[in-house]
Structure formats: C-alpha cells, structure tokens
Amino acid sequence: MRKFTVPLFFVLLAPALACAAPSPKLIFPSFSGLAQKATESVTITLDPALLGLAAKFLDGNDPQDAATKEVLKGLQGIYVRSYSFDKDSAYQQADIEAVRSQLAAPGWNRLVETRSRKTHADVDIYIMLDNNQAIGLALIASEPRQFTIVNIVGAIDLDKLHKLEGQFGVPKLDIDSKSAAKPRN
C-alpha cells in the first residue's frame, strides 16, 4: 500500500504545483466601464491558433512580413487592451491595479520604469524569465488620455525584436539578451 502512496502523492501534487507556478499570461479585467467612457478602444486577443493563422498570411518575401514572422515564432499569445479618452484623468490608476498586482508575483521582473513629467506618460515594462529566456512580456503605458496594456506570451527573442527596428518604429532600447537576463526588480 505504501508503495503506491508516495507516487500517488506526487501525482496529486503536480497539478497543484503547476497551478501555483506563475503564468506569463495576464488575466485582464473586462474594463467594461472604461470601454463605455473611452472614445476609442482596442482589444486584441491573439491565441496560438490565431498567431499561427496570421503567420500563414505573412509574405516571406516582404521584409516587414518576414521580420514579423520571425518574431511570431515561439510566441503563444499577444494580448492588447488600449483605451483612449477625450479628457484627462478619465480613468483611475485603480483600473490598472488589477493587472499591475499580477506583475508583483514572483517570476515577473521590471525591466524599464519611466515617469515623464513632460508628457505625463508612465511606461512600465516587465519581463518573465525562465532559464534566462524571456517567456513573457508585459507593458503598461498610462498617459493622461490613454492607457495601454500589452502582454506577449511565449519565447520572446529580443534579438528578433531588434530586427523590427524601423519597421514598426521600434526604437533601439539597448536591451540585449544578456542584459535581459539581469533585470532590475
């Protein structure tokens, strides 16, 4: 009987441990109240199936499409929520808090934190690492009339992201794979 008890314990424990492991996929609140107030809202939910489908429709001969295709390789999801308002302070920081609190969980590391007094734009970039490989990226940008949350799930190759520079206006952030492995928390 005891022979089976120990393996059974681990078998039962495994799902619990899996649930406890931090996930790079954030759970977004519905933001229904904000969506009603917003003049423009963007909701993008791209799961692995849709990313695979999108990749099929990218032209490998086109440089921009080819670079995008490279970035999409290994990604498991891209989730974007963005709300624009016609007046300042139309949203509260508490609205974003539900997302921000998830980024306080172990596994997430704050890579960049910027506070601009000039534009009043705050941008926080978080990264989740697994064996020095980025497996999740979260970006929270709050401006007076807009807030945007981006969550990219999957093996994010920062070198490939660099290749998008100039294609989508991605700037050089001086982030390389080595520096990403030593993030600030």
């Binding site: 963007v42 993008i44 791209l46 849709l50 990313l51 489908l53 999108a54 099929k56 429709f57 990218l58 995008t68 970035v71 999409l72 891209i78 974007v80 963005s82 960049v112 910027t114 506070r115 601009s116 000039k118 534009t119 734009a121 941008v123 970039i125 970006l139 940008a141 401006e143 945007t148 981006v150 990219i152 998008l164 989508f168 206006g169 991605v170 700037p171 050089k172 952030l173």
Partner: protein, 120 residues
C-alpha cells in the same frame, strides 16, 4: 295514334339481353387491351431516363454544394487569417509605439543627467 307511337318506342327501347358473342368479344377485348394500359410496364420504360436524370442532378447538386461549402470555408479562413494578420500588425505597432514612449523618456532623462553633470 299517340298510343301507337308510345308502344312502338317501348318496343324499340325494350331491354334486350346481349348475345353470347358480344360478352365474349368484350372480355377478349379487355384482356387484350390490359397490357397496354398496365401502368407499371408503361412507366418502367419512361421512368428509367427520369431516374437517371434525377440521380445525375442530385449528384451534381451534391458536388456543387460541397464545392460551394469548401469555397466558403476557404473564404472564411482567408478572412480570419487576414484579420489575424491585421491584429498582429496593430499589436506590434502599438507595442513599438509604447516602447518608443519609454525610449524617449529614458533618452530625455539621460540627456538631462548629462546636462546636470556638465553644468556641475
């Protein structure tokens, strides 16, 4: 006079039993005509081409329906693919836009720090 006419007419129109030949001829005639009037035999010859056309048109309709269904599925898949592609581009554009914002903030911060240092 009128009674004569009446009696003559009655005599002329009186029921007369048919001759035996008549009944036999009539029955023979019916028996001979029956095969021609038989609906099964008559229909069998005409139904065969009808059934063939019906089968052919049903098969053609089925092929057409499958073709149309596949075409519609392809169109739907293409629409979903193009929509997914557009969303990927939009998501990356927005991400890069916000990364730019962070970059500008970092740049202006480092510029102001450099100015402070050079001023000191």
């Amino acid at each position: 006079m009128s009674k004569d006419i009446e009696s003559q007419m009655r005599a002329a129109l009186r029921p007369v039993a048919p001759r035996e030949e008549f009944s036999q001829k009539l029955l023979t005639g019916i028996a001979l005509e029956r095969p021609e009037l038989k609906p099964r035999r008559l229909g069998a010859g005409r139904r065969q081409p009808l059934a063939w056309w019906l089968t052919a048109s049903l098969a053609a309709s089925l092929v057409l329906a499958v073709g149309v269904h596949q075409r519609l599925q392809q169109q739907r898949a293409q629409q979903s693919g193009l929509e997914a592609r557009r969303e990927v581009m939009e998501a990356l554009r927005m991400t890069s836009q916000k990364l730019n914002l962070a970059y500008e903030a970092v740049k202006s911060q480092s510029t102001s720090l450099t100015d402070e240092h050079s001023g000191a």
